[in-house]
Symmetry: C2
Subunit: 191 residues, 2 copies
């Protein structure tokens, strides 16, 4: 049950590491790729990421509310593609930072187990100690937050990095990051 | 999906409320009652809360590891009795505080949905915005924490209240609370 090394001295060093809260959807899990693929499957039309840019989540496609239906469909979160470069980058960051996966999963109760299974498959090196599923993220306290949603970043007390996503293309008040190698570069510079 | 009143001015007042993180197991959910009842069901012996006092969780009964098996049994968390007075007390606290339910549920993946359903049944007035399931609680940042486990309370930066439980009877470095009316009394005095 408990980590047997939890009270050993070397853990003290871990405790001193700076902490990062990393979001799932749109950050380590590629929501855009999934939505585009499901739309093509259902309507035979292949939209691109450029088409999505700047659109609000509830108005991505001509079919109003479609994305809302998708995210409430069993299997949606379990089968999300991993964001390019995320696995390697998170592994690298864990060498120098205490990394927490923080997902606003409570809105979609079906997603809880799917997200946990997904993490177990793609990020097995992240233990249950460092996984957080929440409603809003206002009581999350880490040194850094990597997220695509300004509703999470705006009230955060630490340093923010906004992962590029279709819905934040016009936002300029957070440090934009475009890909995972860039996250590693920026955070390594903080050491 | 989103709370339609989320950006209205009166929400600003809510935002200024002091925040409380309230644990589930042993605080609003009566683990001791369930464990004693299941033991009596399985072994025909009726132990009391006094018998449990001071014992470690993994050595509560002569049958080593029994509690570990119980908490991994489907239905255990879903059928926990509500701690006496918890519903009324949490409702009262919500008048003056922003209340978050923070449960270290990640260790037991089966418990995620059970805990969410349990909250929906017994605390339907707490919305998904204010529910957090985590591994450890070290990045939880609220003004107050009510918990029975010192592993959660010891590293917490805010004010701590230790809910009385069999495993903390010898602990003296947190404010002990014995029942829910006492929680309300102490926190009302903080206003």
């Amino acid at each position: 049950m408990a980590n047997p090394g939890h009270n050993l001295p070397f853990e003290t060093l871990d405790y001193m590491k700076k902490t990062i809260a990393i979001d799932m959807d749109g950050v380590i899990a590629d929501i855009e790729a999934q939505v585009l693929a499901w739309y093509e499957r259902d309507y035979g039309i292949k939209y691109t990421r450029d088409y999505l840019a700047g659109r609000p989540s509830d108005d991505l496609f001509p079919e109003k509310g479609l994305v809302g239906n998708y995210v409430r469909t069993a299997g949606f979160f379990r089968t999300l593609p991993v964001m390019e470069g995320a696995v390697e980058a998170v592994k690298t960051l864990m060498e120098d930072f205490e990394v927490y996966i923080v997902s606003a999963a409570m809105e979609f109760p079906l997603s809880l187990n799917e997200k946990l299974e997904w993490l177990g498959e793609h990020f097995p090196f992240i233990t249950w100690h460092n996984i957080i599923f929440c409603g809003d993220k206002s009581i999350i306290n880490t040194d850094y937050m990597i997220d695509d949603h300004i509703k999470n970043l705006d009230h955060f007390k630490g340093k923010t990095y906004m992962f590029h996503a279709y819905h934040n293309t016009l936002v300029t008040h957070h440090t934009r990051i475009n890909n995972w190698p860039q996250v590693v570069e920026l955070l390594k510079a903080e050491l």
